[in-house]
Every structure is written in structure tokens, then in C-alpha cells.
């Protein structure tokens, strides 16, 4: 499958994706619901996205946006898969069964944002200490040991 066929396939499968896909750069963004994420990831892996580049998250206040970067060595294409989970109950299916690279990446997202990955084999903190309280990359994170930079610096 080359990149033109990939685009046609994705446009048929995911109509919202089509305007966001650029053939020139071999790059696209796919916005899916959190319940469909695992199915979409499996679909994309079957299409040839054999590499999970990274997993990260963004704090948008009411909800977190999860960002997955998938890459295909054969097609020389990359795609972002984005999904949103509510802040009250941040849960998402793990893609560790599709790409083993997701293991540590999802642990880091759990460490920094507190998003729980269902089906993850070893979901515990990876960078911070095990007894750490809170999730530092959340916008409302507070820690009394932080010294705020004064205005004049």
C-alpha cells in the first residue's frame, strides 16, 4: 500500500480525517472517540503503521487529550491519533498489546497525568518515586516545595 491508497482508505474509514491528511508530507491527524481508540489503533497497525513513536497527553482543563504518534516505515508516512478523556475519570484502553513500545510511554503518561490505561501489564510510576503524591504535568498541580520564579527574573 502506498500513501495515496492509504489516504483513500482512511478517507473511507474515517470521514473526519480526510481534510486533515496531507499527501505531500505523508502526515495526518486522526481524531477518534476514546471508546474507539483501540479499534482504530489495531486498524492502523494492520494498514502498516508498525511503529509507535510516542504517547503523550495534553491538559485541556475539563478533559485530557491523548496523542499517539504512529509511523510506517514502508509508506514513509506518519499519523497522529488523538482522543480525549474526561478529567473526572481518565481511563483509556492500553495499546501495549499492539506495540510493546507503549509500555513505558503509557507509564510516563500515567506518571505525569494520572491517566489510567486499562489492560496495561505494569502500570506504575516510571520517573517519579513510587510514593509521589499528585500528577505534576496537570495544570492544577500544587507542591509546597516549588519555589516560584519572581517577576524580576
Amino acid at each position: 500500500m502506498d500513501i495515496v491508497e492509504l489516504r483513500e482508505h482512511l478517507c473511507g474509514q474515517y470521514p473526519d480525517l480526510c481534510p486533515l491528511f496531507s499527501i505531500e508530507f505523508g502526515d495526518g491527524v486522526l481524531l477518534v472517540g476514546s471508546d474507539r481508540l483501540h479499534a482504530a489503533a489495531r486498524d492502523l497497525k494492520d494498514l502498516g503503521f508498525d511503529r509507535l513513536g510516542m504517547v503523550t497527553a495534553v491538559d485541556f482543563g475539563e478533559e485530557f487529550e491523548l496523542v499517539y504518534r504512529l509511523q510506517s516505515r514502508e509508506m514513509r508516512a506518519g499519523i497522529f491519533v488523538k482522543t480525549r478523556v474526561p478529567r473526572e475519570e481518565p481511563r483509556i484502553d492500553s495499546v501495549n498489546d499492539l506495540w510493546a513500545a507503549a509500555n513505558w510511554q503509557e507509564r510516563e503518561v500515567y506518571d505525569m497525568f494520572g491517566i489510567v490505561f486499562d489492560g496495561h501489564p505494569d502500570l506504575r510510576r516510571i520517573l517519579l518515586t513510587d510514593d509521589w503524591v499528585g500528577y505534576p504535568l496537570r495544570k492544577d498541580y500544587e507542591n509546597p516545595t516549588i519555589i516560584r520564579r519572581p517577576d524580576y527574573l
Binding site: L127, L128, P136, Y141, N143, T145, I147, R148, R149, L153
Partner: protein
């Protein structure tokens, strides 16, 4: 020997002292002098490199700067080392490991805080939740080297200054000699008053 400085300063001085000794085969010295001489010229380093300062620390060991000539060689085992060079940012998660490595080093031991991160947290002082603001929060630091990162020359200066400090120490903790160029540390019971009291006298 030189007045006011009874300890052996180096191999050259040792050779000179040998010639001035009647008979030539005997040197009279104090145990302190010979112990400090040995310690000062074999300050083996525990390279606690955690960030970019470690690159300068590594460069210091190689041929251009060649710290072997000072007797300072990096050893991977803390039980072989005398001076811990903390080169880099220490996070709260790393701090227990550093502390443990420090505890594994045999006495006498010294600590060099290399670079701004090891001194105070450096650029991570403000707005950071994960970085220890200076290794002196949990280690007794002897020498601080400023820089981000410092050049190997700065580390060389620190080793030479540390040698002066080592030569001011005694194998007996109650006897501390004052050596020119080393200031007594305020608040340090071993080096504060007793060092000032013995200043000028050759203990």
C-alpha cells in the same frame, strides 16, 4: 625541609629531603605528613555524573586534560574512591542512590559539587518539583565549582584546592593543622576553632 610546612609536598621534595638526610636512606617525617601526602596525590574520583557536567568530567580524564597526572582517576566502584564528584542535576529520585554511594565510600572521603545544578539546582531552582536544590542538602560538600557546565580546568583547580585541604587534615580527628590558603570553615567543629588555634604552630 621548608619552614612551617613539614609535610612532604611531592616526589621532588621527597627526593630533596632524601639528599639532605645524613646517610641518605632514612627520612624522618610525621605519620600525618606521609598520610596526607599519599591521600592528596591519589584522590580517586567517584564520577557521579548525571547530566551535561559529566561530559566535562569525562573530558578531564582523557588525554587533553589528563587528570591521571594529578593522581585522580575515575573508578566505577565507590569502595575504591576518595572524592565524589557530583556532576549534574540530582533529582529527588536520584538522591537516595547518591547518598547510598556516598555511604559506600570508605573514609576519609571528600565531595566536590561540580556545576550550578549540584550547587543549588541551577536553572532548575525555580518552578521545579523534582530537583534537589544543591547536593549540600544531603552531602558534606568540600569544594564548589561554578559553571554551567564548568570547564575541565575548573575541575582541575578544584582537585588542586582539595589537595591543599587534604593536607590540612590529620589522621587524628582532634589534630587539625592550618595550611596556608585554606580557610577554616565556620560551623565545622573539626576545622573551625582548632584550626584557628593551631595557626602558625607546626603541630
Amino acid at each position: 625541609m621548608e619552614e612551617g610546612r613539614s609535610e612532604v609536598a611531592g616526589v621532588d621534595d621527597l627526593a630533596k629531603a632524601l639528599e639532605h638526610t645524613p646517610g641518605g636512606g632514612v627520612i624522618l617525617t610525621s605519620i600525618d605528613a606521609i598520610a596526607d601526602w599519599a591521600r592528596g596525590y591519589s584522590l580517586w574520583m567517584m564520577p557521579m555524573g548525571t547530566a551535561c557536567c559529566a561530559m566535562e568530567l569525562i573530558a578531564a580524564s582523557f588525554s587533553k586534560f589528563d587528570f591521571d597526572r594529578h593522581g585522580s582517576i575515575p573508578r566505577p566502584d565507590p569502595r575504591h574512591t576518595d572524592v565524589m564528584v557530583v556532576a549534574g542535576t540530582i533529582t529527588h529520585k536520584m538522591a537516595p542512590a547518591v547518598k547510598r554511594l556516598w555511604a559506600q565510600m570508605p573514609d576519609p572521603k571528600w565531595c566536590i559539587a561540580m556545576g550550578n545544578c549540584a550547587i543549588s539546582g541551577g536553572i532548575f531552582y525555580y518552578d521545579t518539583y523534582s530537583v534537589v536544590r544543591g547536593v549540600d542538602e544531603f552531602l558534606p560538600v568540600d569544594i564548589y565549582i561554578a559553571g554551567c557546565p564548568p570547564r575541565p580546568e575548573s575541575l582541575q583547580d578544584a582537585i588542586l584546592r582539595l589537595r591543599e585541604k587534604v593536607r590540612a587534615e590529620s589522621i587524628s580527628p582532634s589534630r587539625v593543622r592550618a595550611v596556608e590558603g585554606v580557610l577554616p570553615l565556620p560551623g565545622d567543629p573539626l576545622r573551625g576553632e582548632s584550626a584557628a588555634a593551631s595557626e602558625g604552630s607546626d603541630v
